[in-house]
């Protein structure tokens, strides 16, 4: 009995090994090839990256995507493990200052020639160029952009209090908020996660002064962090925190979207990806009003979030060919139109014509505001979405901000002092 079992075990494991090796053997030699790690496995993100893979395959490449669903940190753990074992993916998702940080731990591919050939540098926001060309060379490419400072107003709530236009300044925002509060509507729609809390402060500060935001959050300037604009942002955040749903606990903001659409909550500050949530829940464009979040200086400002690919160096020629092919595709107008059309994001290129029906009015308006904000030097990088600072600094700042939002006994002055202190400790 035993020997038979042993033999069949051996046979079984042998077949298993062979069947794993088979696709590898079948792969044509020399065909451009990429291995890709991202966290995008489901929903519109998953659909978009699958479509990109199809495009790559059609262009003659061999596309191998290994999604790591869940938190971004899970994807990063997988990436770390692969780098440690000397087998990095040809391409992986990574964003913001983490691109520079991670590029120090393993060699990356120089994409300067590809970018120059596509004339790409002229059509990308300068803030993004700095992030994706960290030490003077392009090693990564932004894939899609989202505007963080977007406001969404529930049509039903607006009708109840007679609001017909979006608030242009924080004073107007607060006036609408008071009206809604009086009418029994909870003025601020929000979730209970840390980044949600941090993002509200971030939108307040960038809406008060993008210049102060740049100095305080992106450059960690000690004087600005202790200055009047940052204090004003804390005051505005306190006001909004008192208008929030006290019962969000740690729930994701999307849990409360039905309540928002019913008109029980009035105004939501959230990046453009929320359109995907609306669509999935069956809401129409007519159910809400949207546009840029309040901006006190009256000029277009843009709080940037961008997803990107980083290209890891591999010795095999088919990987090199695959990487350059993918880089070329990602920079193309058609690819960006296809990708953003699926996810509801904005194309990275600032020279795109968005009149195509694949885009919504909200996307057109936000995309136009990106170009305008770049020209006016009012484009900044998001803190809560890991664009402005490396993760350790972001985490320390977000901890202070989420404590401030959830603990109403902290005064704006004390919140500001704590933030400046937290930055001093990690600087």
């Amino acid at each position: 009995m035993t020997p038979i079992r042993r033999r069949s075990l051996l046979a079984a494991s042998g077949t298993a090994l062979l069947s794993q090796a088979a696709p590898r053997l079948a792969r044509a030699e020399g065909k451009p090839r990429v291995t890709v790690i991202t966290q995008w496995s489901a929903g519109s993100d998953g659909a978009a990256i699958t479509a990109l893979g199809d495009l790559f395959t059609k262009a003659g490449g061999d596309w191998q995507h290994n999604p790591v669903p869940g938190f971004t940190t899970d994807m990063m753990n997988k990436l770390r493990a692969q780098i440690l074992s000397g087998d990095p993916p040809a391409v992986s998702q990574l964003k913001g200052p983490e691109i520079a940080a991670w590029s120090k731990i393993a060699p990356t591919v120089n994409l300067d020639a590809d970018v120059a050939a596509a004339g790409y540098e002229k059509v990308v926001a300068p803030e993004l160029i700095k992030l994706h060309k960290p030490f003077g060379h392009w090693i990564s490419l932004p894939l899609q952009v989202y505007r963080i400072n977007s406001i969404w107003i529930s049509r039903k709530a607006a009708d109840k209090v007679g609001v017909t236009a979006l608030p242009k300044t924080w004073a107007e925002y607060n006036a609408i908020g008071e009206k809604m509060a009086k009418a029994g509507i909870q003025p601020v729609a929000n979730g209970g996660t840390k980044w949600d809390n941090g993002m509200i402060w971030e939108i307040a500060l960038s809406g008060i002064s993008p210049a102060a935001y740049r100095k305080a959050v992106m450059e960690l300037d000690a004087a600005t962090l202790r200055g009047p604009e940052v204090l004003a942002a804390f005051e505005q955040t306190r006001k909004m925190s008192l208008w929030m749903d006290p019962n969000t606990a740690s729930q994701h903001y999307s849990t409360f979207i039905p309540k928002f659409m019913k008109g029980d909550a009035g105004m939501l500050l959230m990046g453009g990806w929320v359109q995907g949530v609306y669509k999935k829940a069956g809401y129409q464009y007519s159910d809400y009003m949207t546009g840029p979040a309040p901006q006190d200086n009256g000029r277009p400002a843009f709080d940037l979030n961008a997803d990107a690919f980083i290209f890891w160096q591999r010795k095999e020629p088919e990987f090199t060919a695959g990487q350059h092919l993918l880089a070329k595709l990602v920079m193309e107008k058609d690819t960006q139109k296809m990708y953003s059309g699926i996810t509801g994001s904005l194309p990275v290129r600032t020279d795109m014509d968005l009149s195509d029906p694949a885009f919504s009015d909200a996307q057109r308006e936000a995309s136009a505001s990106l170009g305008a904000a770049v020209k006016d030097d009012q484009a900044v990088l998001s803190l809560a979405h890991n664009m402005a600072q490396p993760n350790q600094i972001t985490a320390a700042m977000i901890d202070v901000l989420t404590e401030f939002v959830t603990d109403h006994s902290i005064t704006p002055q004390k919140g500001q002092a704590r933030l400046a202190e937290a930055v001093d400790n990690v600087r």
Binding site: I83, A101, S250, Q251, Q392, A395
Partner: protein, 298 residues
């Protein structure tokens, strides 16, 4: 040929046992030592084998996150231990009354242990959320003044984790206590009855004192449960509101993976291990003492 085969057959069971044991030892002991080593290095995104002495430890101990977490650990550990033991013991005593359908009850009370912590956390998260769960239900039934908003109250959210944790673990405590109760000599109980002790008094004065080693075992198992709590808190409160309910394990995760500071995170992990050892080492000494004493008495 047959000799080789016979020897192979004899070796197979040993191989089946020892290979996994050795692998587990390498994994557990090896990676524990590796983590201790990393905690003395300046590692950030990847391991970096320099030497920074105790700098990671002093940095971690100085963060607000760790201070809040250590404080929470003390409160959570104490309350969880108390509530779970009390519930487990009460259930065990009730089931001990020679009920009909005892097995059904035992299964019901033990069942939560089979549920993953994440599921427990998510379900209790909905139940305890004042806008969605129990509070909303009771208010909807007409008691409009009813308030049960611990989950969103910074000072009370931690007790929600205690509640959910106790719900999950008290069945386990019950099983241990029940085994203890059943091992008590029936003559002892008879003697107490003849001496005129009521059921309450019998339990308090005769049965429970005679199963005190079970209490120690339950305490130790529950405490190490509490110290390792991670997924339950993550799913239930996510460390919030703000960072009011972070626990040491959440700090480890936060520093290692969220912030990409492997050295700091490892230092926090080693501190967590020291907490566990503070519970487990005295217990090991106690077991040894018990063993020696039993041997002497025999």
């Amino acid at each position: 040929m047959t000799g080789v085969r016979r020897r192979l057959d004899a070796a197979l069971p040993l191989l089946a046992i020892w290979v996994p044991v050795l692998i587990s030892i390498v994994y557990v002991v090896g990676f524990t030592l590796y983590t201790v080593w990393i905690s003395f290095t300046p590692s950030t995104l990847l391991p970096d084998y320099g030497w920074v002495g105790l700098r990671n430890y002093s940095a971690i101990l100085a963060t607000r996150n760790w201070q809040i977490a250590a404080n929470n650990m003390a409160i959570y550990g104490f309350c969880f231990l108390l509530l779970t033991t009390a519930l487990g013991l009460s259930l065990a005593v009730l089931i001990d009354q020679k009920l009909r359908g005892e097995n059904v009850f035992r299964t019901i009370f033990l069942y939560p242990l089979a549920v993953s912590f994440v599921v427990t956390g998510v379900v209790w998260g909905w139940l305890l959320n004042p806008g969605i769960g129990i509070q909303k239900l009771v208010v909807g039934l007409g008691w409009t003044d009813f308030r049960f908003d611990w989950l969103v109250d910074r000072d009370r959210a931690l007790y929600c984790i205690v509640l959910a944790g106790a719900w999950q673990a008290s069945g386990f405590a019950m099983a241990l206590f029940l085994a203890g109760l059943r091992s008590v000599d029936a003559d002892l109980m008879k003697a107490a009855q003849i001496d005129g002790a009521g059921p309450l008094r019998t339990y308090r004065r005769v049965i429970l004192p005679s199963i005190w080693p079970i209490f120690i075992a339950v305490f130790v198992i529950l405490l190490q449960f509490a110290i390792k709590t991670f997924d339950l808190a993550m799913a239930l409160t996510g460390g919030g509101p703000g960072i009011a309910t972070v626990l040491p394990s959440i700090v480890v995760y936060d520093f290692m993976f969220q912030r990409g500071l492997l050295g700091r995170g490892s230092a926090a992990a080693v501190l967590l291990l020291l907490m566990l050892l503070a519970v487990l080492l005295p217990y090991a000494v106690f077991r040894r003492w018990q063993h020696v004493r039993n041997a002497r008495n025999a």
